[in-house]
Structures are given as structure tokens and as C-alpha cells.
Amino acid sequence: MTFLAGTNRPRTLVLGGGITVAIAALAILGPALTPYNPTAFAVRLRLSPPSLVHWFGTDEFGRDVLSRVIAGAHYSLAMGLGAMLISLLLGVPLGLVAAFHRGVVEEAIMRSVDLLISIPPILLGLLILAVTPPTLWKTIVAVGLVYIPIMTRLTRSVALGLLQEDFVQAAHARGEGAISILAREILPNAWPPIIVECGLRVTFAILLGSSLSFLGLGPQPPSSEWGLMIAESRQFIDQAPWIGLAPGLCLCALLISVNLFGEGLREALDPRLSGHGDV
């Protein structure tokens, strides 16, 4: 990260990781921490601005915005991690299969992947979610599917590169089977770029997932998913901007910290970035 040039490498990792862990703790401990019931109406208090009693104010039903933001944290994290895991667990094996079985199998996998990539990401999500009533897990699956092609392509190209390396040829010369080559030679060398990509995928999955929720294709009211909260706040943007600002700023904080963490991972794992002073 150039704007942090001069800082130590772990700092991005620690800073990003720290905030992410803090938000994750908030999400897990959420129910215990919320000062008010996030879904309890209090009509007399509706649209009250931030105060000592309600730090982030209240919404159009008088619900405490802070409590709703805390209660909604787990959605974004679940979407980010869940979608990343789906793309990881399906995309990586597909990429490995394509790399090991050149020919028809590879063509079939890669052409399907090309096809999925030829739909713009949000539209693919919209399409998958359009027909059935939206829920959290469907959004996670849709976002995960959108990112499978990226994982597959990355894994295949990394594995193909490694398969050309002499140390893999040496394994062939020992008559090693595919599983042994995969476990001993390929995976230990392939995981750093895959891990880095996973970090990126979490960021993009949170972005895409909250965008879909914003469009109404994620968790449904009265849940307090942040994208949904922002969508609902639009009506009251002139009278009570805090209803949208609070979840929006939290979402930004989460995205920035996850992104920082990912950058830190990349710097820590990418040998090209660990400056060697070669002559």
C-alpha cells in the first residue's frame, strides 16, 4: 500500500485485522451488547436525533439505530465469509481439475467459467435471486457463485505454472501420483496467491452482498442488514440522515479494514513485494 509507504509491513495487517476482529466480536456478541431491542417499536421516539440515550438516534418506528447496526453486523460478515468460502471450496477444486486434466475436461470447465464471467456480476446476482423469495443464505450462495469463476481461473493458472516447474517434473520422475503431487508440490506453493485472493473476495462479497440487499434481494425487513437499512433510510434522508449514515459508515469501516487486512496479507505473502536489493 503506497500511501502507507515507510510503515512496517505488519502494520496494515494488524490495523486491518484488528478492526475486522472488533467488528466480528460485535457481530457475535451482538445480542448481548445491544442497548435496546433492535426490532422494538417506540412510536413516541420516532426519528429522534443522536443523543446520549440513543447514540445513533432512532428510526421512523422509533427503533434504536445503534442496536440495529450492532444486530446487523453479522449479515455483512456472513455474506463476506460465506460467499468467499463457497467460491473457495468450489472454485479451487475446479481450477485444480482443469489444470490436471488438460483437454476435454479443462475445456468444459473453462468455457463454463467464461460464460459465467460474461454476465456483469450484479446482474448474475439479480438473475439468481429474481425468481425465489430472497433470504440471507440465497444472497450468500448467489454472491459465492458469482466469484467461482475468478477462483477457478486463478487456481488453474497458478497450478499450471507450478506443473511446469522442475520440482514437479522431479516428482513425475519418481512416479508420484496426482494426489501426492497435489498435496506435496502444488498446494504448499499455490496457497499464498489463493489466500490473497480470498482476502479480496471477502471485500467484494461484502460490497456485492450489501448492494443486492440494498436492491431488496437480501435479508428482508425487519432485519437490520446494513444495505437494507440504508435503502429504507432514503425516505427520511432530509429529516433523519443518521438512520442511513450510521450503518453506511459502519459498512465503510468494515470494508476498509477488511481491505487493509487483505493488502497486508498480499504484502506479507507476495515475494515480489518483499524488496530484494539485487544488483
Binding site: 520440482f167 508420484e176 530484494h276 536489493g277
Partner: protein, 680 residues
């Protein structure tokens, strides 16, 4: 610290050298502090003179070129007492001189030409910018310059792009761009290292010709002593950023006075002196250049070193026009060059063959897959064209050829690492199918070229060595540890290296681990695929010695693949010469190195630059090995200087048996080829 100045500043202007450098030091900023890449370098080049700058990797020779051009970038700190080019201070005026009066040729022509611009523009550009010629004039001149540099159909090439030209042609284009503004000095940074030896010979002839006809001065940077000797008047030898010895080329190479120069010469395998027994490597590694060492930085590796070598040494004048930086120079000069210890005269192994290939063939298809549906063309390239050969137990068969000759593919075919499209392989009396049994895998192993990619970077030396033991069930429990110790000892590595990762090893050490891994299964047959090509001369010698010892000690047979005929002549019993997928000549080393030759072998041998060996007759090949080849006739017909006529293009050449052990395929009669002059 003021050191020698070979040319005094008081000399008249007309005698003033074109380029004079004194006290040039360069340091790079790294994470571990300042890395002193160059320390107090001095050199001078007169008008029309060619100076050779020699050193191994890490010597700082390329840094000299960049420092002269003022292109070192922000991470480097440059200082010099004197850096003058024809009366101009290069430290402040390099930007206005480079390209205009100093032309540069970099190592790899594929990387040095811009892929997005036409050849014509790249050659004409210096004329447009520096000489402000009108566009039409510049392009006309560029065309004639290309023609002058031996590029056929120059007008057509002007419109081409770099990817459409072969490596040799690209390097001619790069030289043309360097000459375009008619500079007084040409900087050549390893100009032929990326090229095949026959192409290298063409480029060297071109440089010699330029020097004679244009009187242009050159600085030739190279790791290759033979090449430097061919065209340089004077020589500067660099070691780890310091000048260790300078003087007239022939003089320095005949009577080196610095132990390092001596070591380099003794470590060099030469095709004109096959089988000298053991080479003399330079032990140890380059010093840590982030630490400033006032004393001699070679002393840790030097057999002449005494305590006094820890004190600073100046570059001292020794005799006419020679300088050397060594307290012990007097002794070094009078000690006779070490004679290689000739071991027992090696008898070429006889007996029934261990591995026999009959008509092995492999065809690669370029383009294909689903893209064929959309009409993209696919074509077949015959990488190995029905090759037959046999290797006896304990024998070393050298396989020589240029890039694209199919030698690596043949090596992999013999190990059944890639699928053969045709032919049979027999190993120890049994036929080996395309998918061989584990016993064959155990007995036939491989050593690779590039030590950086041949070891899994995430495994320790111990893990790397244990795996074949487990895989072939050769050792269990505590025996595994003993076996790993034995292997490390075999390749002369300390036992505590077992815990190291590859990045903690030097290139030579990595190569030793690669050899140990191949030997772990106690094989009878080893394919060494360019096993020493990526190493510096001093390290290469040590690995060659090790391989020779292991052959004698363990009785392993090698297929020793190399583009370097000197290396092959040193270690092999027999040599097979490969060209475009076919073996054109095969015989005992002594037989292949003297007439009768296959015309290709003749050209290959005469192209090799060897120090202090003056061939009377040089055979030069036109074109490059990538040229189209007709399926019917001789694979070498397109480039053959002895081509008879159409018969070479249409008929398969007959096999000529010179002796029981020596044969080649050529239309020319044996007697006629036997009458050819020796080129070595």
C-alpha cells in the same frame, strides 16, 4: 585512496582516451544497508579500442554500463574521481551523450526491443532525435544500416515488429539502433549471452567488422573469457565490485597475475583439451557486499592468501600496461599454471547397453483444442524425429545441440516423462512402456538446469531428500536419517544443511541438493539436462568434478545434455550432435572433435569462442536454427555451408560410418569430409 592511472592526464589532447574512468564507486540502498556494487573502478578506452570487462555474476559489470549512461536510478549512489568521455563529464552530461555519442546493446534482444513499435521506427529514432534528419532520410538510412549489418530483405524488415524476427536478427537490429546516431563508443552488455553459439559467432564477426571498418570503440561486458579474447585489445577483470587485474587481453589470459583470473582460466572446460581430468574450481562464495572490507575481498577463496591480504591493496602497475590488485602478484606470476591432475585414463565402457532408444519420436501440436472450431491454424512440430541411441552402464553420452534442437525433449523421452508418439525404449533388457513401472523410475532419474526452480521452495533439504527414500521404500525409521547424511556427504554438503530451505542456499549448493535427490534412489541412469548451464564458471567446475566423481564412484550412466560443447567434451565418453530433432553425428569424444565432421558439427565447433586457441579456418552458418526445414531432405540443408545441391533438399542423407564407433548422416562422401581441416 588514489590508485593507479594508466594514462597520465598530461598526455596531449589527441592521445587523450575517449573514455576514462577513475575511482568509480556505486552503492545501492537495500534493506540490509548500502550494498557496494562497485568499489573504486578504473578503466580507459582509447579511440577505436575495444576493452573487455570480465566478471562472474555479482561482479558489478552491468552496473558499470548503467553508471556510464547515468541510468542507475534513484536507489543508487554514484561517485567518481573522474568519469570523462571525450572531454565531457559523464556524471553531469550523460543524458546529452547517451544514444548520440554512446550507443548501447543490452543482453537479451527480445527484451530490449519495444514489442509495440516497428523495427524501422526503432532504428530510425536516434537519427530523428539526435541528428534531426527528415523522416524519409532517416528511414532510408535505417534501411541501408540494417542491410549493412547483414539483415536480408532490410526494406521488408523495417515494417516488421520484433516478435516476427529470430533472436539473431533482433540482436542485429539492436546493434543497428545503437549505431544509428553514429556514436564513437559502443557499450555491449553480454551481447551474445542469450543467443545460440552459431548465432553468437555471427554477431562477433559483425562486431569485429564494425571495429575494422568504422573504427568504433567498444566496451564489451561479458562473463565469457573466450569471447572477450576474440575481439578485445585490453581486459579489465572485476571481482565483487573491484578491479582485480587489467592489461592487454592476450597477455592477461596467457600470464594471469591475480589468483582470481588464474582461477577462472583453470575452471574453464575447453573442447580443445578434452578430458583434462579434474577442473580446478574456485571454492567458496561471493563476499557479503553490504560489509565494507578494506582488505582483499577475494582472500577467503584464495589459495595464495596470507595475513597481509587483510590490509588494503592498491591497483599496482606491473610491467607494460598491466595492473593488478594483489600483494602476492609476484608469486602468482611465477607459479606455473596449475596442471589439471590427470586421473586414470578413462576407458570408454563397453558391454551391452543399459538404455536403448529405437526410433523415438515426439510431435508437438501448436494451436488446437476448441480454438480449432473457430478456424485457428494448428501445425505439427516434430521435436524429436525418430532418434535411436544407446548408453552403456557407467557411460557418459554427451548430447549437444542449439535451442530448439529437441535435446531436452529427447532426454524426457528417455525417462518416459513425456509420451512418445513412436519408437521403443529398452532399459536393462526390458522394454519400457509409455507408463513405466516404479522400478524403472527408481533406476532412471534426472538433474535439472535451473537450480532455482528444481527444488520445492517450501520443503527443507531433508524433506526433499527423504521423499524418494520413502517413495521407493529404500529406508525406514532411523535408516532414513543415515541415508540423508550419506547423500549430503556424497554431494559434499555439510550435514547441518538438512534443515535449510532452498532460498538459504547458493546456486551451486542448490544444484548439489538436486543431484543428491536424483541419487537418493541409487539409480543406474541419470539424465543431466543442462545441469551446469545456469552456474558461473567457478561453480560449474565444482559441479562437473562432482558429477565425474559420482560416475566413477557409483558407476552411474549419464545422458549429459548441454549447449556448451566444452562442458560436454570434458565429461563425456561419447558425443551425439543433435539438429532439428535428429542426431546428425555420434562418436567418441576424440572422434567428434576432429575431422571427418558432419558440416554442422564443424560449424558448431568453429563457432565456440575458446581463449588462446586460434582457429585458422572459421566456418560460419547463415540463418538460424528456427528456419523452415523440409521433411524429406537433410534437416541441415537450409544452413549447410557445404551443401551439394538439390539432393540435400530432396533425399534423406545416408549414414556414413567413419569407424565402428563414429558415424554421421551426410550426402558428402566420407573421404571428402575427412580431408577437411581441423577447426579446433
Amino acid at each position: 585512496m588514489k590508485h593507479s592511472t594508466p594514462d597520465s592526464a598530461a598526455t596531449a589532447m589527441s592521445d587523450a582516451p575517449l573514455l576514462s574512468v577513475e575511482g568509480l564507486s556505486v552503492a545501492y540502498r537495500t534493506q540490509r544497508g548500502w550494498l557496494h556494487a562497485l568499489d573504486d573502478i578504473a578503466l580507459t578506452i582509447g579511440r577505436g579500442q575495444v576493452l573487455g570487462l570480465v566478471g562472474e555474476s555479482g561482479s558489478g559489470k552491468s552496473t558499470v554500463v548503467l553508471a556510464l549512461l547515468g541510468l542507475l536510478g534513484d536507489t543508487a549512489r554514484v561517485s567518481a574521481q573522474r568519469l570523462r568521455f571525450d572531454g565531457n563529464d559523464l556524471l553531469s552530461q550523460a543524458a546529452s551523450l547517451r544514444g548520440r555519442r554512446i550507443g548501447t546493446v543490452f543482453q537479451d534482444p527480445s527484451a530490449a526491443l519495444n514489442p509495440a513499435l516497428s523495427i524501422g521506427l526503432q532504428v530510425a529514432e536516434p537519427m530523428l532525435v539526435h541528428r534531426r534528419l527528415p523522416r524519409a532520410d532517416a528511414f532510408a538510412r535505417a534501411t541501408s544500416l540494417l542491410a549493412e549489418l547483414g539483415i536480408p530483405r532490410a526494406a521488408q524488415v523495417m515494417h516488421a515488429y520484433p516478435h516476427q524476427l529470430s533472436g539473431g536478427m533482433k540482436q542485429r537490429v539492436v546493434i543497428a539502433t545503437a549505431l544509428a546516431a553514429e556514436p564513437d563508443l559502443l557499450l555491449l552488455d553480454e551481447p551474445t549471452t542469450a543467443l545460440d553459439v552459431t548465432i553468437e559467432a555471427q554477431i562477433l564477426d559483425l562486431l569485429e567488422d564494425l571495429r575494422v571498418r568504422r573504427g568504433i570503440a567498444m566496451l564489451l561486458v561479458s562473463h565469457n573469457l573466450g569471447l572477450v579474447e576474440r575481439i578485445c585489445d585490453k581486459l579489465v577483470v572485476l571481482y565483487a565490485g573491484r578491479t582485480v587485474e587489467t592489461g592487454p587481453t592476450a597477455d592477461v589470459l596467457a600470464k594471469p597475475q591475480h589468483p582470481y583470473t588464474r582461477g577462472l582460466l583453470a575452471a574453464l572446460p575447453r573442447p580443445d583439451r578434452p578430458h583434462p581430468g579434474r577442473l580446478l574450481p574456485i571454492d567458496g562464495n561471493l563476499p557479503d557486499m553490504t560489509v565494507t572490507d578494506p582488505g582483499c575481498n577475494f582472500r577467503a577463496r584464495c589459495s595464495f592468501a596470507i595475513d597481509a591480504c587483510a590490509t588494503p591493496q592498491a591497483l599496482l602497475q606491473v610491467g607494460d600496461d598491466r595492473t593488478v590488485r594483489c600483494h602476492r602478484a609476484g608469486l602468482v606470476a611465477t607459479t606455473p599454471m596449475p596442471q589439471p591432475t590427470v586421473g586414470h585414463e578413462r576407458q570408454s565402457p563397453s558391454g551391452s547397453p543399459l538404455a536403448t532408444a529405437e526410433g523415438l519420436a515426439r510431435i508437438f501440436r501448436i494451436g488446437g483444442g476448441l480454438s480449432r472450431l473457430f478456424g485457428s491454424v494448428s501445425r505439427d512440430v516434430v521435436a524429436v524425429d525418430h532418434v535411436s541411441l544407446a548408453i552403456r552402464p557407467g557411460e557418459v553420452l554427451g548430447l549437444v545441440g542449439e535451442s530448439g534442437s529437441g535435446k531436452t525433449t529427447l532426454g524426457r523421452l528417455l525417462l518416459r516423462l513425456i509420451h512418445a508418439d513412436d519408437g521403443r525404449l529398452t532399459f536393462d533388457g526390458t522394454e519400457i512402456p509409455n507408463a513405466p513401472k516404479l522400478t524403472f523410475r527408481r533406476r532412471a532419474q534426472i538433474v535439472f538446469q535451473n537450480p532455482d526452480t528444481s527444488l520445492n521452495p517450501r520443503q527443507t533439504v531433508e524433506t526433499i531428500l527423504r521423499r524418494p527414500l520413502r517413495r521407493f521404500g529404500l529406508a525406514r525409521g532411523a535408516a532414513v536419517t543415515d541415508e540423508v547424511d550419506r547423500l549430503l556427504e556424497l554431494v559434499r554438503l555439510p550435514r547441518d544443511y538438512r534443515a535449510r530451505y532452498p532460498h538459504q542456499l547458493s546456486g551451486g549448493e542448490k544444484q548439489r541438493v538436486g543431484i543428491a535427490r536424483a541419487l537418493a534412489s541409487r539409480p543406474d541412469f541419470l539424465v543431466c539436462d543442462e545441469a551446469v548451464s545456469a552456474l558461473d564458471v567457478s561453480v560449474q567446475a565444482a559441479i562437473l568434478n562432482l558429477l565425474a566423481d559420482l560416475r566413477d564412484q557409483l558407476g552411474v550412466a549419464y545422458l549429459f545434455i548441454s549447449h556448451d560443447i566444452g562442458v560436454v567434451a570434458h565429461i563425456a565418453d561419447r558425443i551425439a550432435v543433435m539438429y532439428r530433432g535428429r542426431i546428425v553425428e555420434e562418436g567418441l569424444v576424440a572422434e567428434v572433435l576432429k575431422p571427418p565432421y558432419h558440416p554442422y558439427t564443424e560449424a558448431l565447433l568453429s563457432a565456440v569462442p575458446i581463449p588462446s586457441a586460434h582457429a585458422e579456418r572459421r566456418v560460419r552458418l547463415a540463418g538460424d536454427p528456427g528456419a523452415e526445414v523440409s521433411a524429406a531432405g537433410c534437416c541441415f540443408a537450409a544452413r549447410c555451408p557445404r551443401k551439394l545441391g538439390p539432393v540435400c533438399d530432396t533425399d534423406t542423407p545416408p549414414r556414413r560410418q567413419a569407424t565402428d564407433t563414429h558415424h554421421f548422416t551426410c550426402h558428402i562422401a566420407l573421404a571428402e569430409l575427412a580431408a577437411a581441416k581441423a577447426v579446433l
